[in-house]
């Protein structure tokens, strides 16, 4: 009867092993070699690349910026996404229209919208400074001043991915049971009280899942950086993935870039595990 069960699993599993496991093992092997433009053979230099990356301040700077950017955007996305999901939940006119409208940024290609955003941020002929000037204010160098460039990239990320948070949280809100709300109403709890006593705890599991998924995706930030600032000004918006890209596929230092990748992957897995554990410990109290 269950003889056929492997037929379901095998095709997908084989493809994934072939396409993912081999490249991963290969990357690890390459990370122990000095493969680059001048040395196109796999040799063995033991931990040479890893020693080098420990002293590479630019790499750690990029990692720090990535973490600030990922955690910052995901937190803001979570708060905004939750608020938006609550807004379109009740008896709102044209509620279905707004639900799709709020999803629209997620449907657009990040790299192409970054092209548009780059023109929006343009210092002399972009609409943002146009609006500031119409209000009698000074224009702002959106993409050429380090702190502002960093904030601009974050804003585009928030524009692009708040909808994903919104979608998951809305799906969660829709599927919440009704009884606790009736009980809260009978007890005379106001909307704010009801939110913190009923809605928020009931949404803990979904919130954690949504935050983790977004953190994973946010840590890949690269395309908006590539198009809007190319990591500049200086290295103000350079994130880990972009730095690895520069070392690997622009400077073609494959060995070193592989070591950067492996280190990065290990750091990511460890920090995501810790974040997941902390979130569960903090917010999921009465569940196993």
């Amino acid at each position: 009867m269950y003889r056929q069960k492997h037929l379901f699993l095998l095709p997908g599993l084989l493809v994934l092993v072939a396409i993912i496991i081999f490249p991963l093992l290969f990357t690890i092997r390459v990370s122990f070699s000095s493969w680059d433009v001048f040395q196109p053979e796999l040799d063995w230099i033991a931990g040479g690349n890893y020693g080098r990356l420990l002293e590479d301040a630019r790499y750690w700077g990029a990692l720090g910026r990535l973490m600030i950017m990922a955690v910052g955007t995901v937190l803001i996305q979570y708060i905004l996404g939750f608020a938006l999901a609550l807004l379109v939940l009740g008896d709102l006119r044209a509620r279905r229209f707004f639900r799709v409208l709020f999803l629209v940024p997620m449907m657009t290609t990040p790299v192409i919208m970054s092209v548009i955003w780059r023109t929006v941020f343009h210092e002399s002929i972009g609409p943002l400074n146009g609006m500031l000037q119409a209000l009698g204010l000074q224009g702002v160098p959106w993409l050429s001043e380090p702190a502002l460039a960093f904030a601009s990239v974050m804003m585009v990320e928030i524009w692009q991915w708040t909808p994903f948070m919104f979608l998951l949280l809305l799906a969660g809100l829709v599927s919440l049971p009704r009884e606790p709300y009736l009980a809260a109403r009978i007890d005379g709890a106001g909307p704010i009280r009801t939110f913190f006593a009923v809605t928020f705890p009931a949404m803990a599991g979904i919130s954690i899942a949504a935050i983790l998924i977004r953190l994973i995706e946010a840590s890949k930030i690269m395309e908006s950086v590539y198009v809007m600032t190319s990591g500049g000004p200086g290295t103000a918006t350079e994130t880990s993935t972009y730095y690895i890209y520069i070392r690997g596929l622009r400077d073609f230092q494959l060995g070193y870039a592989s070591a950067l990748s492996v280190t990065y992957l290990v750091i990511m897995i460890i920090s995501l595990t810790i974040i997941a554990k902390v979130l569960v410990r903090l917010f999921v109290k009465d569940r196993t």
């Binding site: 037929l7 379901f8 809305l170 596929l249 494959l254």
Partner: protein, 280 residues
């Protein structure tokens, strides 16, 4: 009090709608501008200051000295479409197996296999790009659509598995058991009983595969160089100081249009049901 609350609510919705639409409105007006309109400052109502022009839109097909993007457009449709289809088929099969049968090998259980499928999403594109480059080079598939499809399957399969496992977990098991009692094998049960009941899940999974496939830039960027370019790569290549903004805006708009339209069609499935189980 009630009125005030409603006013704030609608104001918030209105503000966010403006933020969402802002870049689109800007792109639409820009796509109808010409040199005077763009350098004349950030005007929102082009019709008042100068005549709108269709140059931007004509340039999409090589007119007005623009670049023809119909080739990359077709490439994108072929690659995203076939990779999504294959991923959905394999992902749905795997998800059904994982939700209905017990697999064990040593200490590995079903949950570990599911996690193995999904864990691929943790790897950033850059970590995979270098080995993919070398792998496709070895296979002679570098700079071909077939090679890209292979890569995109690896990219999309986890999404299909993620959505479908949770969907199947919410499909009552009695459905399968009745079919088994009637003498169906797991395979015939799957395509006669389960598949017809899985349309909402398949639509959500398909939509997600299409989004992530259509939106990928990085792999297409590193693995193709010539006329196998996909749409985002072709458009980003236009993103230089030479390309006029009206061409850039028109090409950007026409490339993001299909998924937005699709979203309006499948909205019901996206914001209801389908994902409710996926995020427990």
């Amino acid at each position: 009090m009630k009125t005030l609350y409603l006013a704030i609510k609608y104001l918030a919705i209105l503000l966010w709608s403006c933020f969402v639409l802002f870049p689109f409105l800007w792109a639409v007006t820009t796509s109808f501008k010409t040199a005077n309109g763009v350098t004349g400052g950030a005007t929102w109502i082009p019709w008042l200051q100068y005549k709108p022009s269709l140059q931007g839109w004509q340039s999409l097909f090589g007119g007005s000295g623009g670049t023809d993007i119909s080739g990359p457009y077709l490439n994108s449709i072929i690659v995203t479409g076939s990779a999504s289809l294959i991923s959905i088929v394999m992902g749905t099969l795997a998800a059904y197996g994982l939700s209905r049968f017990t697999f064990r090998a040593g200490f590995i259980r079903n949950a570990d296999i599911t996690f193995f499928f999904i864990s691929q999403r943790i790897m950033p594109p850059i970590v995979l790009a270098i080995p993919f480059f070398l792998l496709l080079d070895q296979l002679g598939l570098l700079d071909t659509l077939a090679g890209l499809i292979l890569v995109y399957i690896a990219l999309l399969l986890p999404i299909a598995v993620w959505v479908m496992v949770d969907f199947f977990n919410n499909v009552p098991r009695q459905l399968d058991e009745m079919a088994w009692l009637d003498g169906c094998t797991p395979l015939t049960t799957f395509y006669r009983v389960i598949l017809p009941n899985s349309v909402p899940g398949l639509i959500v999974a398909g939509m997600f595969c299409l989004i992530f496939g259509w939106n990928d830039f990085f792999f297409a960027f590193t693995l193709t160089f010539t006329d196998t370019q996909l749409l985002p790569v072709a458009i980003v290549a236009l993103n230089s100081s030479v390309t006029p903004w009206w061409s850039l805006s028109a090409s950007a708009l026409i490339s993001v249009a299909p998924l937005i339209l699709l979203a309006f069609v499948v909205e019901r499935f996206l914001s209801r049901g389908g994902l409710a189980g996926a995020v427990r």
